[in-house]
């Protein structure tokens, strides 16, 4: 469903992505990890065209993301994305955060959008918070709303960029639980995270990035059964000690 072939990207002289190739099949959960600054965010933002890349090709559901003629808004509406800092719209209530793109992009009727929104809020366990504003919610609640907002578009794949890194420890699980459910329902997911417990439970494959390169791309079992390289080893020992 998601296919990257020899993707390279530069910021001026600085190469952020170096010849990255990988694939995420339908229904697969792939975890991307690696040190800060290794290019993980950049990589997944390339998948839905939030970042441009200069070399290589990315296909999503058979459509070339880098092609100038691709209707990016339409493509993006099929890919849900969740950010480290939630990025809920501060001036809109929870309900309206989830409804906005349903109304403006999918052109759903108000009734349809309301119906869908209530369903999703129940799914992420926030039906009672629907009239609040983002600033009135805890971080964990905000991130669950953000997931609901992405799901409202009925995406065929989801991208997560460190969805729990900005959360207080006690709120991490409420968000991970929603993500595990989503994985179990067969959602195609590409997840940048350092939550190795989550990776072990639901990821089919793990990608390890370092300095813009995909250093490891192997099954979860292989990754944890210490067939990984030295850099991945060093990285893993660092985060597991925390």
């Amino acid at each position: 469903m998601i296919e990257l072939r020899n993707v390279s990207k530069w910021y001026g002289d600085f190469q952020v992505l170096d010849d990255c190739s990988t694939m995420v099949s339908k229904g697969e959960v792939v975890v991307v990890c690696g040190p800060s600054g290794s290019g993980k965010s950049t990589l997944i933002k390339c998948v839905n065209g939030l970042e441009e890349f200069q070399k290589g090709e990315i296909q999503f559901d058979g459509i070339s993301v880098g092609n100038k003629k691709t209707d990016l808004p339409k493509l993006r509406s099929k890919i849900g994305m969740v950010f480290q800092n939630f990025e809920l719209y501060p001036h809109l209530s929870v309900v309206n955060n989830i409804k906005l793109a349903q109304l403006k992009v999918l052109k759903r009727s108000k009734e349809e959008a309301d119906h869908k929104t209530i369903q999703l809020l129940e799914r992420v366990g926030l039906a009672d918070q629907s009239l609040k504003f983002p600033a009135q919610l805890s971080g964990g609640q905000q991130q669950r709303v953000a997931i609901a907002r992405a799901l409202a578009m009925d995406p065929i794949a989801m991208l997560f960029d460190e969805p729990t890194s900005a959360l207080d420890p006690e709120m991490i699980n409420e968000v991970l639980d929603v993500m595990v459910e989503l994985a179990k329902d067969g959602m195609t997911m590409m997840v940048v995270t350092h939550e190795m417990g989550f990776a072990r439970r639901v990821a089919k494959r793990i990608i390890f990035m370092d300095e813009g390169r995909i250093e490891e791309d192997c099954s979860t079992d292989e990754f944890f059964d210490s067939q990984r390289g030295v850099r991945a080893e060093a990285f893993l020992s660092k985060i597991l000690h925390h």
Binding site: L72, P73, S77, H91, A101, K104, V105, R149
Partner: protein, 240 residues
């Protein structure tokens, strides 16, 4: 110093009428200029935040030119020089037939000048929201125009209420520069009353009080507006 106070002067005709008409012109020039400054300044400020290099460049040049030439110089340029630069017919029309030439020139000049200042407020207001919100909107399939329309501008203008209020108050004070090209606004009228009656203190005190009065009304109004559109749970929008 021998000075014969006579507060009565400001209530006698024709001086009372001059004062009323003066404050009327001050308010009219300010509002007309503000409508232009706000609309044009918003467009230019928004252009400065877009990805299109050419429109960004044009907007930047506009801001640099209009912000850096003193207002009074701009006033003279528009009034005396600009009509001469136009093709004959158009120049003649501006000088002879344009309705209320002083008023129009003053409002346009003040509006164009203030637009450059408004543009800077709009730009920094939008930029303070950050790339994350933009990405979040785009990621759901909204177009760039929709992201501005439904996310960046509604949040941005809320952040901008205090600085834009202060720009409006500045326009109001700057409108006195219009007297240099013959608009009989409140400062010009105060001067005229002084010349006719030698009661300069009374005349200028009245003008000052009227400025403060209007300024206070505007500030109170904007406080109310700010309260009306404030976002629940949000203490400071710009802080993020």
């Amino acid at each position: 110093m021998q000075y014969n106070w006579d507060w009565g002067v400001i209530f006698r005709e024709p001086y009372q009428e001059w004062i009323i008409s003066g404050i009327g012109w001050t308010i009219s020039v300010s509002i007309a200029a503000w409508i232009l400054a706000f609309s044009l300044g918003s467009i230019i400020g928004i252009l400065r935040t877009t990805n299109n290099r050419i429109s960004r460049r044009i907007a930047t040049v506009y801001v640099e030119i209009f912000r850096n030439i003193p207002l009074i110089v701009q006033m003279f340029l528009w009034y005396f020089v600009f009509p001469e630069l136009l093709p004959n017919d158009a120049g003649m029309w501006v000088k002879r037939e344009m309705p209320m030439p002083e008023f129009t020139t003053a409002a346009v000049c003040l509006g164009l000048y203030t637009a450059s200042r408004v543009a800077e407020q709009v730009r920094s207001g939008i930029q303070s929201i950050g790339q994350g919100q933009n990405n979040a909107g785009l990621a759901t399939g909204l177009t760039t125009v929709q992201v501005y329309r439904y996310i960046l501008l509604p949040v941005g203008y809320r952040i901008m209420i205090p600085p834009l209020t202060s720009e409006f108050l500045t326009i109001f004070k700057n409108s006195s520069v219009a007297l240099t090209i013959g608009v009989l606004e409140i400062t010009a009228q105060a001067r005229q009353i002084e010349e006719y009656t030698f009661q300069g203190f009374e005349a200028f005190t009245t003008a000052t009080v009227l400025y403060i009065l209007v300024t206070s009304i505007v500030m109170i109004l904007m406080r109310v507006v700010e309260g009306r559109v404030s976002i629940p749970g949000m203490i400071s929008l710009g802080a993020k």
